[in-house]
Symmetry: C2
Subunit: 346 residues, 2 copies
């Protein structure tokens, strides 16, 4: 076994969009698992938009990554040494291993995977945190009803594609928004959306709104919010009475610094937003999936068979090599990926 | 019986704050009730902030009052002629009689009042639409729990005082915001709030926020929203995780025209607002009480005994004479009243 491991640490905090300067690849001594711990060789590492928030030191739902600290994240890998009774060498697990080739973790923080049941990469996406986010957000706050219309952005991402496919299976009209014609094609042909609009083809929120209006002739009952910005500004006036907006992210604004500016949504003021919630009797719910892990077993029972049968389609965008994680992450924040962003580490 | 009645019509649409020019007092022929209708002599007429919205022709939850049309509103009065089997001359009723000395209405739109049980003015406030608004909004969306902290503005108004008193009775810490030292005194001494801040004593949202922070050391679990503007901007950063914001109004912004400007809440942008909802897992619900009349019997069963016993205190601000309704309404919009604004018509 190698005596060294590789990891990527936060070198400095980004001002706006992250750059390579904010990351540093380091070698470190291979850690040794203590009592109840395991040493894991990371095979696949997840890249998710929430990681951008951890790079800032703004008040949020989770503590920031400290300067010099290992970038956080969920990964799937193989147990190569165990001091825990319930995991043994060779077991495949998912856990909070961060941006690294190896990690020591409390066995209680690891979830054992069955590679026979589904490829282990699905634990990062469709059958992991993003899938649960889409399922829980849609069912608990979106409260979908057959015949209604749902709009979701980042339509080919792991959250958006889960939301759209579940909503379709429940009889809703599903309209996606994505960046680029290829992604829109994927949303319709691979994920079965009724329509998908390329937000890059519209100069401003107003023209995007006109296009959305044509695809949502009855208005929008559910806007599953994961982007903010121009899409939110386009959607807000189209919300129907008693509409629901689950909010799990706002990637368009993650790079906007203090959010003092309406980056990409300059026509939307706080009073306009607030008034729409009032006059359309909207229900708006922010949530972060880490508060709802208790729903994971129910989610897996319901969704894993649909993934196995192909009823819920999967798309993954895999980058090779830990050293390429920063670039892949920056691409993710600007929509460069199609499907769940994953780094193949080993 | 007089052959003439008086009414106030919308002469023109206001641009910002209403002025006397927007209203016109008119005489009209006394109407005659048709089949199933009654003729009512209006004794007390309600003034409510929502009426400002009806003066605009912006898209909202209700159709605007047409130019030249009678100003809408709920009133209490006496049946003086009846063509309906369930109501007879002399019955006291509440109904949508508008700004007028007399009105004909479908008997099905009238609710019979028992003046022995409670003064008929309470049908306009504490036991009427505003009371129901406070009760339903607090219970259905605020989901109060003992030990939590609630903030409500317009604390001495009929909605705010209901919300605050109910929350106190449920074991919450209740902090009001009101305009003027007298109102704050009323909130604490008459309505039993733990504290009440005079927003006029604070130049900006930031200084109001500091004062709120001192009164809400654990943060705010429920912000019952009826004003918007500076109070909202002050409150937003103090919201606790899993907080709830029922929205029933935003009077600070009603005169703001197209809401393109953050009148009195200039530091609050849409991204900041949206981000707070996300990172604090807030639940924000807009509602208008006309969608929830089905809860009225439950409300009356629960709250009427508390009003009768004095557990829920009442305060009314009564203006004499229909002709003084426009001035009283303009005063209401700038916080000139203390307690439920009512016009004594006859």
């Amino acid at each position: 076994m190698s005596t060294q491991m590789q990891q990527i640490v936060l070198a400095s905090r980004p001002d706006g969009a992250p750059s390579h300067d904010n990351f540093r690849l380091e070698s470190a001594d291979m850690p040794t698992p203590g009592d109840g711990e395991v040493l894991v060789e990371v095979h696949y590492m997840s890249l998710d938009p929430y990681m951008r928030g951890r790079m800032d030191d703004a008040k949020s739902y989770a503590a920031p990554v400290p300067i010099g600290g290992k970038m956080e994240g969920g990964s799937a890998g193989k147990v190569i040494a165990s001091n825990a009774p319930n995991l043994k060498e060779g077991d495949m697990v998912f856990g909070p291993f961060g941006w690294a080739t190896h990690a020591v973790a409390d066995a209680k923080m690891c979830r054992k995977l069955d590679p026979e049941q589904a490829p282990i990469t699905t634990s990062l996406g469709v059958l992991g945190m993003p899938g649960l986010t889409g399922w829980h957000g849609l069912m608990a706050y979106g409260k979908p009803k057959a015949g209604e219309t749902l709009v979701v952005a980042a339509a080919t991402g792991p959250v958006g594609s889960m939301v759209g496919q579940l909503a379709k299976s429940l009889g809703l009209r599903v309209v996606g928004v994505a960046g680029g014609a290829d992604k829109c094609k994927t949303a319709v042909e691979h994920f079965g959306f009724d329509a998908c609009l390329d937000h890059r083809a519209y100069d401003d929120a107003k023209s995007l709104r006109e296009a959305l209006k044509a695809e949502c002739p009855k208005g929008i009952d559910i806007y599953f919010e994961n982007v903010g910005g121009k899409v939110l500004e386009a959607v807000i006036p189209l919300m129907r009475p008693f509409g629901r907006i689950p909010i799990c992210g706002m990637i368009a604004w993650y790079n906007a610094g203090g959010l003092g500016e309406n980056a990409g949504g300059a026509g939307l003021t706080a009073p306009k937003l607030w008034r729409t919630i009032l006059v359309n009797f909207l229900s708006v719910n922010g949530f972060i999936i880490s508060n709802h892990w208790d729903r994971f077993p129910e989610f897996i029972n319901e969704v894993a068979p649909k993934v196995a049968s192909g009823e819920i389609a999967v798309q993954e965008d895999i980058t090779e090599g830990l050293e390429n994680a920063p670039q892949a992450f920056m691409d993710l924040l600007t929509g460069g990926n199609t499907g769940k962003a994953i780094v193949k580490v080993v």
